[in-house]
């Protein structure tokens, strides 16, 4: 499941019913002819916001790791990452 939210047995039915109701409502959009309409990805008028290439101070290692559930020797620790053999 791409969302990686850990569905367990029973979850699927629970969500499926509610989601299907929502999706049915969302399907209303099919009624509209939007072929000639451009999408609005952003309502802001701004464009070309660029930052000058000037370094600014960041966090210390301690600050960076302060919230980490598992930090080891300055690294964030994670369990095994299995790429298929």
């Amino acid at each position: 499941m791409l969302a990686r939210i850990g569905l367990e047995p029973g979850d699927v039915e629970f969500y499926a019913e509610q989601l299907s109701g929502i999706l049915a409502h969302i399907d209303r959009l099919k009624e509209l002819d939007t072929d000639a309409i451009p999408p609005t990805a952003q309502v802001v008028e701004v464009a070309n916001t660029l930052r000058e290439d000037v370094p600014r101070p960041g966090l210390s290692q301690a600050e960076a790791l302060a919230n980490a559930p598992a930090a080891v020797d300055g690294f964030f620790r994670v369990p095994s990452i299995q790429d298929e053999a």
Binding site: I5, Y15, Q18, L19, I22, I37, V44, P69, V78
Partner: protein
């Protein structure tokens, strides 16, 4: 001046009295702390408190006042929604997945308010990741409406609205993605405003839907709102979507509505599910405005019906991406697993509540290959249509008025079984988010059951000044003021 009165003042009044040394900033914040102590175990507007901060800030405020600082926000007690990062203060977005998270930085809007002298009381409750219309989705506990503790305060910024309505804070900050400031303001009888998208920096706001989110204030008067907005707004180099337009929110503030055209969209006026008491209150409000000299015109927003569908594709889609960072690796809650995938899934299953998981699933689906065109792209096109509706309407009027919410505050638990019924709370507000417009909700009376009703004013993009002007004129003409709820 009795302590009760201190917590019923507006910012404007408090600032004047602080100058006059009627009381100190320290006394003002203490009065609020005592109010909180008296009431919050019942209202539950707050999640946590920041006494070290408020003591330090109140002291500094008193020093500034002694030096003759005339800033309107110096010493004013403020509550902050749990989605706004303050350095060193536990900020959790109303979610268990962020419990214990202390940001190493403070967001821009709040930094500006701190610089202006505001004093932080604590962090207010909200629906988890700002997803909801009742604050019942909070990962911690629901908040209770100060006007009727068995009812919801609205959401997602329910804690902030309730805090101001209960006299626990003079300012509370909220965020509005589909109506999450305006709707709770209406349900709690306070003033709440969403600025134009891009007016206030989002740096420091834990993102829900990036193209819709905005930070805004809750207060007990339109003038107070204008003061806070003026202090917060303006370009931020850390937010590429923030505008460089100058702040002119206070322009023509007291000019009144004489000669202005106020549009009443028939689709909003007759929206499905609007309660008779709400409709009646709006009719009275329209009359007040007409008597004050405004011309009331009929306008139409033909695609209103499709707004909910477009919103419930765009917002979940963006949030599904924004919430991918909550993986238990660098911050927050972590439930370990045998491998990384298991860890991700266990962490997120346990850490995220039902509504969040629902929207993440919906959003992932809407963006997935094969469905992108039919859902996300389609919704963005419908968004264009909705924006065009407003553009056309604004050719016939200067501002749009309507009810903020189709209903008054509903009982806790009444809508939790059916998500769609909850989503319908936002039908009158989410159009403003889709089109990026500024909108304000002002109290416009009580129902027979003494439940507040809110009047919404929507203005064209960048015309906060118009929305504030109309709201102010209404406040003056009707005599309806935001009151502190009579909780004993």
């Amino acid at each position: 001046m009795s302590k009760t009165k201190l917590t019923e003042l507006t910012i404007k009044e408090a600032a004047r009295l602080l100058r006059l040394r009627s009381f100190s900033a320290a006394e003002l914040v203490t009065a609020h702390a005592e109010q909180i102590e008296r009431l919050d175990h019942r209202v539950k507007a707050f999640l946590r408190f920041t006494p070290e901060l408020w003591e330090k800030q109140a002291e500094e405020a008193d020093r500034r006042i002694a030096r003759g600082d005339l800033g309107p926000l110096v010493g004013i007690p403020m509550a902050v929604k749990d989605v706004l990062c303050v350095r060193g203060v536990e900020t959790t977005a109303g979610s268990r997945i962020l419990s214990g998270f202390r940001p190493p930085y403070t967001g821009t809007a709040i930094s500006r308010l701190f610089a202006a002298g505001a004093v932080m009381l604590g962090v207010t409750n909200c629906d988890e990741f700002a997803m909801g219309s009742s604050t019942e989705n909070s990962g911690y506990h629901p908040t209770h409406n100060p006007w009727d503790l068995d009812r919801v305060p609205g959401g997602s910024s329910g804690g902030s609205a309730a805090a101001v309505a209960a006299g626990e804070a003079m300012i509370a900050l909220g965020t509005d993605t589909g109506g999450s400031i305006r709707q709770p303001a209406a349900l709690c009888g306070v003033v709440g405003m969403k600025p134009t998208y891009g007016r206030v920096s989002r740096y420091g706001l834990i993102a829900f839907a990036s193209s819709l989110d905005q930070i805004g204030p809750f207060t007990r008067s339109v003038e107070d709102t204008a003061i806070v907005l003026d202090a917060m707004a303006g370009h931020d180099p850390l937010d590429a979507t923030s505008s460089t337009r100058p702040n002119d929110v206070l322009r023509d503030f007291d000019a009144g509505v004489k000669g202005m055209r106020l549009g009443v969209p028939r689709e909003y006026y007759d929206v499905e599910g609007i309660e008779p008491a709400v409709k009646a209150a709006i009719d009275t409000a329209i009359k007040s405005l007409r008597d004050a000299g405004a011309e009331i015109v009929d306008v139409t927003l033909p695609h209103t019906d499709y707004g909910l569908a477009a919103y419930y594709i765009i917002a979940p889609a963006e949030c599904s991406s924004n919430l991918a960072r909550f993986d238990g690796v660098r911050y927050g809650f972590c439930q370990d697993g045998q491998n990384i995938t298991e860890s991700y899934e266990r962490t997120r299953r346990k850490g995220f509540g039902t509504e969040v998981r629902r929207r993440v699933m919906l959003g992932t689906y809407a963006l997935s290959s094969g469905y992108y065109d039919a859902y996300y792209l389609k919704a963005q096109k419908v968004r264009t249509l909705i924006k065009r509706d407003f553009d056309a309407a604004f050719e016939r009027c200067d501002a749009i008025i309507s009810a903020t919410s189709p209903t008054v505050a509903f009982p806790i638990g009444a809508k939790t079984k059916n998500p769609l019924s909850m989503y319908l709370c936002d039908v009158l507000t989410l159009g403003g988010n889709l089109a990026g417009l500024p909108g304000i909700s002002v109290p416009c009376g009580m129902t027979d059951e003494v439940l507040p009703v809110g009047l919404q004013v929507l203005a064209p993009q960048w015309r906060e000044d118009v929305a504030l002007r109309v709201a102010r004129a209404y406040e003056v003409a009707s005599g309806v003021k935001a009151e502190v709820a009579p909780l004993v």
